[in-house]
Each structure stands twice: as structure tokens, then as C-alpha cells.
Amino acid sequence: MLSWQSNFLSRAFLWLIISAILCLYRVLKGPTAPDRAVAVDMLGILIVGFCAILSISTGRDWYIDIGLAWALQSFIGIMALAKYLEGKDFDE
């Protein structure tokens, strides 16, 4: 890998961390419970991208396995969370 590429990839983390901070803002602030659930779902997908970039920049292939497992378990978790939300009553 060329030097400008590895240089670039180390800056890519900055963007992902800013996006994750925006998601975390919504998790903390969100007026209702579904808002927080949406933000947690997006954080789960962002972490998959994070694992993919880690696997390029460090050259360790097993990071993408973590991403795959994370995608599976975050989907199942969100389904359970949404089923829980459906039976509840939330006002503002």
C-alpha cells in the first residue's frame, strides 16, 4: 500500500468518529424511545464500516469477521427492540 493511501485511511477514522458522535447525540437527546432506537440501529451499521476500514489499514483480515457478526447480531437486536416498542405506550 502506498503511503498516501495509508495516510488517507488514518484520516478516514476521523469522519466515522464524527458520524458516531452525531448518532450518540441523538441517543442522549432523543425525545422519545423510538428516536434512540433508530440512532442505535445506525450506530450498528456504522461499526460494520469501521471494522472494514480497520481491516484495510491494519492488514489484519479477521476484523471483517467481527463486522459480519456485528451486522447479524445488531439486526436481531433491533427486531427484538422494535417488537418491544410495539407493545408499549410512549408519549412525548
Binding site: 485511511l9 458520524s19 452525531l22 441523538r26 422519545t32 423510538p34 445506525m42 459480519l68 451486522a71 427492540l81
Partner: protein
């Protein structure tokens, strides 16, 4: 050559990820937030994973990246749909700007 295309796909993915999360902060209610983030973050992460596939070629890592891409493309809309339905059933009203609300009418009937 492949690495340059991969880098540019990763840049596009990062930009869309960031814009999706910005939409999550800026939009007024749950449903519009869900629209912005579910579309942009899904395509952004798919772009990053396809960039990883172009980097690694047909190796073990590249194939797992493709599998992960297909999985995210199939499941992200499903979880968005389930969250929207759960939010509506739990009684979160759409924001003030909403023009027509036919789903609310059909539930309350």
C-alpha cells in the same frame, strides 16, 4: 488502479455516512430521521465494503465483505420498516409539518 477506485468508493461511503448522521440530528421527527439515516448510512456502508472488496480482490476477506454487503442491503430496510411501525403503534405522532396522515386514520378507525 483497483486500489484507487477502492479509495474513491470509500470516500463516497464516508461522505454518505456523515450526511446520514447529520440528517439524524437535523430532521424534526422520528419518521423523517429514519428516512435520512436508513438510506444514506446503508449506501455509505455498502460503498465502504465494496471498496474493501476492490482492495482485497477474490480473497477470503473480499468474499466476506461481499457477503456482508448483501446482508446489510437486505436487512437494513427491514429494520427501518419495523422501527417505523413500532414507533407508530407506540403512539409517536408525526411532526407538525405533516400534510396528510392516512396511516393514523386507518389505525384509529
Amino acid at each position: 488502479m483497483n486500489e484507487t477506485i477502492g479509495i474513491s468508493l470509500i470516500v463516497i461511503g464516508l461522505v454518505f455516512d456523515f450526511l446520514g448522521c447529520l440528517g439524524l440530528v437535523r430532521f424534526p421527527d422520528v419518521y423523517t430521521r429514519l428516512q435520512a439515516s436508513a438510506k444514506c448510512v446503508t449506501l455509505g456502508t455498502c460503498g465502504i465494503l465494496f471498496g474493501l472488496f476492490l482492495f482485497k480482490g477474490f480473497s477470503a476477506t473480499g468474499m466476506k465483505a461481499l457477503l456482508c454487503l448483501a446482508f446489510i442491503l437486505l436487512t437494513a430496510p427491514v429494520s427501518a420498516h419495523v422501527l417505523a411501525r413500532g414507533a407508530y403503534r407506540s403512539g409517536v405522532k408525526p411532526c407538525k409539518d405533516t400534510v396528510i396522515d392516512q396511516y393514523g386514520e386507518s389505525i384509529n378507525k
